[in-house]
């Protein structure tokens, strides 16, 4: 939008800021509430001024937040690494050294994203139970890898396609062996793409709720499962809930902010740059 007169421009800027603050107000309120005493958290009218306290964060740790955080970190990191180990070669075989029927393979990967996960949860539960993987972090690792793999293949492929063909050809004519070619020519171009893909996978694994809540409990529960504990005690622990929500979301918030220029590409599976 372009506005010629400066007054209009300022007004539009102020309006944009106002809208943005209104839109994220629930989150700003969460941050405020996280530093309140419970008695300041639910008052009528809502209280904007209060003596900040870290009590709620201590309270969460007492409720055993750390093991959940540890599970989330472990599941997220391991499944993301697994995704990369599987997806990088696959993306290579679907772009630079394209296999026959590349289109069909890509279509298959994409179609798995469209299967509603609710349709698979029952056998997954029964199978996990039978092989002793119920409430076990490895069940989530396998499932999150399967969940993110198609996205990673598509996204990485879009980065591989950006490697200039001439550079590969030139290297080949110079007689460079394939490892050198991959390391010197392909890797520098796709490395940022691999990093961006990893960050997107981290976001999706960290925030995943459905599998976590159905397949894990006290042992292997991830951060979203910890939050479920607050439904039963709603109304009484708003400040603590806000602190937990803030702590649980902070890692992905930061990652998302860092990766925001690649976010669109990840969300559209590489289709939009």
């Amino acid at each position: 939008m372009r506005t010629a007169n400066p007054l209009g421009r300022w007004a539009l800027t102020a309006f944009t800021w106002l809208i943005a603050i209104l839109f994220v107000f629930p989150l700003l309120w969460m941050v405020l509430t996280a530093f309140k005493q419970e008695s300041d958290a639910y008052t009528d009218p809502p209280r904007l001024l209060f003596t900040p306290t870290l009590e709620q964060f201590a309270g969460i740790l007492e409720r055993g937040f750390l093991p959940y955080l540890g599970n989330s970190a472990f599941v997220t990191v391991v499944s993301t690494l697994l995704v990369l180990v599987l997806a990088v070669p696959a993306a290579y075989a679907l772009s630079i050294a394209a296999v026959p029927a590349t289109r069909d393979v890509l279509g298959f990967f994409l179609s798995t994203k469209m299967l509603p996960i609710v349709a698979a949860i029952i056998p997954l539960y029964v199978i996990s139970q039978n092989i002793g993987l119920l409430d076990n972090v490895w069940a989530l690792i396998v499932l999150y890898t399967g969940m993110n793999l198609p996205l990673a293949v598509w996204m990485l492929r879009s980065f591989f396609l950006e490697v200039p063909r001439e550079m590969i050809e030139a290297g080949r004519i110079d007689g460079a062996p394939l490892p050198t070619l991959l390391y010197r020519v392909v890797l520098p171009v796709v490395a940022p793409g691999i990093a961006a893909t990893a960050l997107i996978c981290v976001i999706f694994s960290w925030t995943e709720f459905f599998y976590a809540v159905n397949l894990t409990a006290a042992q292997a529960g991830t951060v979203p499962v910890f939050l479920v504990g607050f439904i039963t005690s709603e109304g009484l622990y708003w400040a603590q809930l806000s602190a937990a929500a803030l702590l649980a979301s902070l890692p992905v918030m930061i990652i998302g902010w860092v990766a925001q220029n690649h976010l669109v590409r990840g969300l559209s599976m590489g289709a939009v740059k």
Binding site: L12, P46, L115
Partner: protein, 309 residues
């Protein structure tokens, strides 16, 4: 991993006959792809096939030994179940409303962001944050600090005294989902806005086209593809909405805010009816596939376009 990548390109120096070496070369070329492909088939297709098998059985986890083949019985029961039909209707309403509303809001925010102004980066960062926090956290925050009848900010701001979750359960859930997905739409549409050709826009303004006219006849047509993509990707995710319903309303009051994922979850994990919930799962997949084939085609078109660029 890099080992298999190498193999794919190294000429196979097998002493075997020529034909066989060509075949093994083709397999070497596929080698880097196979682990990912096999893993995906194993993790995403096998469970679904098992769901299909379960859907032809009468099987309740509470009654061990009750498991037997019943043919299409579960499907007949499911279609006769008015709660299932209600959940289906809720799913359609929720998906259509959430996708459309978040797209319109996303377009609005993207238009605001598509110009230079002080603090643009900060505003953009703020606006994407609802998409980044845990959906579970967002749902619980809306349920308590926003929608609570006594202390919620919404009643305070509007001066009302409404029990939102009891009176408008589906609306409340949809509000949270729209809030969460608007940034997603905004980002996709913003990418589309910034991808439009500057020359055309300048030419339009030289020709004296007003801002509204330019938006209507130049920007919007160019955005169509991005909007379609946003709708389809958004729909794929929003159809599966579970977190908000589970945490905010538990599908209630009654079944007022129950969608298919939540209903299937209830039948499987609270009613332990494996056969019927599997049949519902199969029905959901079939319905989704109808939309998905359309989405797939669109992804290919969009992708083809960006490859040319």
């Amino acid at each position: 991993m890099s080992q298999s990548v190498l193999d794919a390109e190294t000429p196979a120096v097998a002493p075997a006959p020529k034909q066989q070496s060509a075949r093994s070369k083709a397999w070497l070329r596929r080698a880097p792809l196979l682990p990912a492909l096999l893993f995906t088939i194993l993790v995403t297709q096998i469970p679904f096939l098992v769901t299909v098998i379960y859907s032809f059985q009468s099987w309740n986890l509470v009654r061990p030994g009750s498991r037997h083949f019943v043919g299409l019985r579960n499907y007949v029961d499911v279609f006769a179940d008015s709660q299932f039909r209600g959940a289906m209707l809720n799913t359609v309403v929720l998906t259509v409303v959430c996708v459309l509303v978040s797209m319109v809001l996303g377009l609005f925010l993207a238009l605001l962001l598509d110009r230079k102004f002080i603090g643009r980066g900060v505003v953009r960062t703020l606006l994407i944050t609802p998409f980044l926090i845990l959906p579970a956290a967002g749902a619980l925050l809306w349920k308590t600090t926003m929608f609570d009848p006594t202390y919620g900010l919404l009643n305070f701001a509007l001066g009302t005294n409404t029990d939102w979750l009891a009176q408008y359960p589906l609306g409340a859930v949809m509000t949270q989902i729209v809030w969460q997905w608007t940034p997603f739409m905004m980002l996709l549409i913003l990418a589309g806005l910034q991808g439009q050709s500057r020359e055309v826009l300048e030419a339009a303004s030289v020709d004296g086209a007003g801002r509204f006219r330019t938006f209507w006849s130049i920007t919007l047509p160019q955005l169509t593809r991005y909007l379609q993509l946003a709708v389809l990707l958004g729909a794929i995710y929003i159809v599966n909405s579970f977190d908000a319903i589970f945490l905010m309303t538990q599908g209630g009051p009654g079944t007022a805010s129950t969608n298919l994922p939540y209903y299937i979850y209830q039948r499987a994990f609270e009613g332990f009816d494996i056969g019927q919930s599997s049949a519902m799962g199969v029905i959901v997949v079939v319905l989704t596939l109808l939309v998905a084939t359309f989405a797939l085609r669109l992804m290919f078109r969009t992708f083809g376009l960006s490859e040319v660029k």
